[in-house]
């Protein structure tokens, strides 16, 4: 378990190339382990992180992820926030629809990762950028 990702610490990953998506996955996985997420919850979290980090890179034109262990009373969880200064999303309802893609993906990144986590918040301004914040709580 990496000490950098202990409770309270924030891990930052700059997302500018395909390899950074791998780094984002690995950082999220370390935090999930430290936080005591079950194997299934780890898998769900890391999968969601992979989808969102790829979106930051491909659709957002690059950006970053900040991830940390968070608490809510006695519950512990992993939070990850993705931010970019890309084109933003004009029609969010459409973008959140299963199977809808403006590009060549499967259109499951946003809708699917929302199903995989406990909290999913998206904030986007056309022409300014997009931020997506997720939390997965340990059960």
């Amino acid at each position: 378990m990496s000490p950098e990702s202990a409770a309270g610490t924030t891990v930052t990953v700059a997302i500018g190339a395909a390899g950074d998506v791998v780094l984002a996955r690995q950082s999220a996985r370390n935090l999930a382990l430290d936080c005591g997420l079950s194997l299934i919850d780890q898998t769900k979290l890391v999968t969601a992180v992979s989808e969102l980090a790829r979106n930051t890179l491909i659709h957002g034109g690059g950006g970053g992820m900040r991830a940390s262990i968070v608490r809510d009373g006695v519950r512990r969880g992993v939070s990850a926030v993705f931010e970019d200064s890309g084109p933003g999303i004009a029609d969010l309802d459409l973008a959140m629809t299963d199977g809808w893609t403006s590009g060549t993906g499967l259109g499951l990144g946003l809708s699917g990762s929302r199903r995989l986590v406990d909290s999913f918040e998206i904030d986007t301004v056309p022409g300014r950028g997009t931020s997506v914040a997720i939390v997965k709580w340990a059960r």
Binding site: T47, L106, L116
Partner: protein, 132 residues
């Protein structure tokens, strides 16, 4: 930076075992390598071992479906072996069911599936390659 995943040969089949966390570029290279090798080697089967793979996201999921579809067009059958239960659960929740992809629990069972498919070849080729 991209890693090249080795493609091994067992009998008439090709075997790929994904052992590291691949970036998207490496995933695409693997897809192309496999298609090329199916033709070069005249392989009739492809086994993709994902027992070491901790997560399958929509990109890798699509790669698996695409390899299955491409191989089928090149007259080879694909079997994905060793999917972890947590990966299967997550894929379904993500919204991917990999309808067109054959699976088996272990490498042995996967090779058996290909053997059986080979025995029945003259009857007709499997078709209906669906991406999802």
């Amino acid at each position: 930076m991209s890693l090249r995943v080795p493609v091994l040969r067992i009998g008439d089949s090709l075997l790929v075992s994904i052992q590291t966390d691949l970036d998207d570029g490496s995933v695409l290279v693997l897809q192309e390598d496999l298609a090329a090798r199916v033709v070069e080697d005249g392989a009739t089967g492809v086994v993709i071992d994902i027992s070491a793979v901790e997560i399958v996201d929509s990109f890798v999921g699509r790669m698996l479906a695409t390899i299955a579809a491409i191989s089928r067009m090149l007259d080879a059958e694909t079997v994905v072996v060793g999917m972890r239960p947590a990966v299967a659960i997550t894929l379904v929740e993500l919204g991917l069911t990999l309808g067109g992809v054959r699976t088996a629990l272990t490498l042995e069972k996967g090779l058996k599936v290909l053997d059986d498919a080979r025995d029945q070849r003259p009857q007709g080729l499997p078709d209906d390659p669906e991406l999802r």
